[in-house]
Symmetry: C2
Subunit: 429 residues, 2 copies
């Protein structure tokens, strides 16, 4: 009664396209690049789309590159801080501390090193690479805001999701006696749908090593900056447009759009604590526990979805291996004339089966090309069902009735034959 | 320098095996089954592994089956309550309320109906099917507890994960003015690694419809039962072995093994609230907010892992489609003698390429069967790289140097040729 359709076997087109675009972005190389290799990193590709130099965040111009490590073949993200001269070797060691942060809302930091390969003194920070990511500034503040093209308001749910994720990051960071320090919409990246990560950790620890401030202060600053990021996003105001004059009005207007708890929590982050109290990230978590749970549940659903998609794809992978097996068996020249592989020997059936799977014709002798037929045949073959099919020779002179079970056995033994006596043979099948 | 290995292209073996076992479990059918079809459900397979009748939880014997819906081809889980006579039509309607619960820690309830197909009066509850799940009782209480085989203690982290998930379930349920009612280790199932779900929701609402109790009481009960489940798991005591005599000692012993917050939270659930207070699930969430966040972060990591595995599998799917294309083109009989497809025509190159991919031989003329070679060739073909390869005819008399880019074009046009003028052709490619 119910038959699985071809599209059941394959990914939703959107997911496939996303994956494809990400794989391409990760593999993209630049022809005739003038960029040097640095340390064991090659194939640098710049990621800054606007070519504007800006030193607002770090006090130095910075550039971001994709690069491939020659140590392990993996792709990384490098951030280069230009014209920075390292005066103290201890400064760069503070990066080590950051290697202990393994958090789903922080881009992992790997190492830092100085280089003169750019014809200046630069320092490079090495991060995980997240293909096709955008900064929150790019995502939310780049549309021109006019009456034809008004900025869209961020939904309450999305703001809660951002809040939960930044809180997740700060919890991990503060727990290890560190501080995020540059919490800014331009340094938080959107890596997958609604997933954000802090992208520039550890940099200010190195750059401002000589002007160190107490950890306690830096962590309090993190909370205030967190509040400011949320205020900017909720009011669609880029940080550079927010000032002491317009802030009160902007805060006032939030209540018209968002719930009391959302606004209240942003205010809690922004303003100094009540007398005596010190604000902590853990205290903040208790205030948003319900929202954390909602986000946890969303992730569970996503996880379930990914799992079942993955299972579908696993079926594909299985069929791919099967086709590879068939490919290695059929039409092998070196067995031409060999009794077992010949036109009336055992392997002949496998060849006719291949015709049955791929070379169907309609009543007019026109080729029929139907992925559904191919997938169904291969699934039955893989399962070795009892179902019998009729295979006809090319000259229509003979017909064989054979079950998938028998075919499966024959293919298994033909393949075994190929591998006979060879060590390490059949790798990957 | 660095080359991707074959195993990079395929799933970790463990994941594949799990997936395979789950797919098999989902497709498993019973030969010569004596079980009837009920409503639009067929192919019933019993899931109760111990054949013991028990009516502790519902007051009636219950049996669990896997079944396939003839309406949509999907697999469901049916729970049959035996010898239950529905006295009030409204009772069964309360199942509708449960259809609004979409929560990652609750097995979704679909419907309920009565049936006489089992030669008695039974009522059937229809749930999502989660292949190969086990109850928490099966997981934690079935080992025999002796000195050769002592029960293993559940780790603190796992307990927190369970607490977070059950709290997630209760939050969703209580919010919709419902109560879980049968929170018991035998009715909580482990569906994936460390993922649990409440598996028998809505049943007691129907069975005890005539003896309804106030929602407030039922929800308070949920919290106490939640505490009891956790006490049982933490102390490795099946619920049936827990009684008023041994409970105080068991509670006392927890502190030796687990942290103060864990024990404190279990006690909070177990004991009546302080004077005046009413306990709510939301109040509980604020108490465990840090743990919820830890679990959220774990899920993010899982998600990232699933995503990258999925991307690998997507590459496989792509190669599978490509092989299907090659399969439809090569050795088509109806074009025997056709100039374009013949031994020196355009399609000939595609045939030789097939030999190059699948029919490599070593210096002794022995077949070489190497998945790595196949995958690399197909990837280059799919990307249409400029790399040139040398294809030799079977009689070694001629050789052609051709780039993957050209081959890709030729295959595209040969495939287009096959589909020419046919509507709906090439479905799924
Ligand atoms: N770890 C990463 N992986 C992948 N892409 C990244 C990573 N970190 C940053 N990017 C991307 O690199 C680009 C440049 O980042 P950058 O932080 O320089 O933003 P910007 O808008 O240029 O800000 P600024 O003006 O401060 O330089 C952005 O598109 C960002 O999404
Ligand atoms: N939705 C479901 N999907 C898949 N399997 C399920 C589902 N619900 C329950 N099961 C499985 O069915 C089996 C029987 O469940 P059941 O609740 O009857 O447990 P039990 O140990 O037999 O308890 P009882 O003695 O109360 O019947 C268990 O192995 C359980 O994991
Ligand atoms: Mg930049
Ligand atoms: Mg049972």
């Amino acid at each position: 009664p119910y038959q699985r359709q071809t599209h059941d076997f394959f990914l939703p087109e959107k997911l496939r396209e996303d994956a494809q675009r990400k794989l391409e972005a990760a593999h993209q190389v630049l022809a005739n690049s003038a960029l040097p290799n640095v340390d064991h990193f090659t194939s640098l590709v710049p990621l800054d789309t606007n070519n504007r130099e800006s030193s607002t965040i770090f006090g130095y111009t910075s550039w971001v590159y994709k690069a491939v490590s020659q140590e392990n073949g993996r792709t990384y993200c490098l951030r280069r801080i230009k014209d920075f001269r390292l005066s103290n070797e201890n400064a760069i060691r503070s990066v080590k501390e950051w290697k202990r942060v393994h958090n789903g809302s922080v881009v992992s930091v790997h190492s830092a090193f100085t280089t003169r390969r750019f014809q200046d003194s630069s320092i490079i920070f090495v991060y995980d690479f997240h293909p096709l990511s955008k900064t929150l500034s790019q995502q939310h503040f780049t549309q021109t805001n006019n009456r034809y093209n008004p900025r869209t308001t961020v939904t309450e749910d999305l703001l809660w999701s951002y809040i939960t994720q930044i809180a997740n990051a700060l919890r991990a960071i503060h727990k290890l006696n560190l501080a995020a320090r540059c919490l800014d919409p331009s340094k938080i990246i959107l890596t997958e749908k609604n997933r954000i990560r802090l992208s520039a950790c550890s940099i200010l620890d190195v750059l401002q090593y000589d002007a160190r401030r107490p950890l306690q202060d830096l962590q309090q600053d993190d909370l205030a900056q967190f509040g400011k990021v949320m205020l900017c996003l909720a009011s669609n105001t880029p940080p550079s447009s927010l000032n002491n004059n317009n802030a009160p009005l902007i805060m006032q207007q939030l209540s018209a759009v968002y719930s009391e708890p959302l606004v209240g929590n942003i205010m809690w982050l922004l303003f100094p604590p009540q007398s005596g109290e010190t604000k902590t990230i853990d205290a903040f978590l208790t205030k948003i526990s319900g929202q954390i749970m909602s986000n946890l549940d969303m992730l569970m659903h996503q996880n379930d979805g990914l799992n079942s998609t993955l299972y579908q794809e696993i079926e594909n992978g299985r069929l791919f291996r099967l086709l590879c097996k068939l490919g290695t068996i059929n039409e092998r020249q070196e067995f031409d004339g060999d009794r077992q592989w010949s036109e009336n020997g055992e392997r002949y059936m496998i060849k006719l089966f291949r015709d049955y799977v791929f070379h169907q014709v309609d009543s007019n002798g026109q080729p029929v090309v139907d992925m559904g037929h191919i997938v169904r045949c291969l699934n039955k073959l893989d399962a070795g069902t009892e179902e019998r099919i009729c295979l006809t020779s090319r000259d229509d002179q003979s017909a064989f009735v054979v079950s998938y079970k028998e075919l499966k056995k024959q293919i298994g033994s033909a393949f075994g034959e190929l591998l006979k006596g060879r060590t390490n043979a059949g790798r990957g099948f």
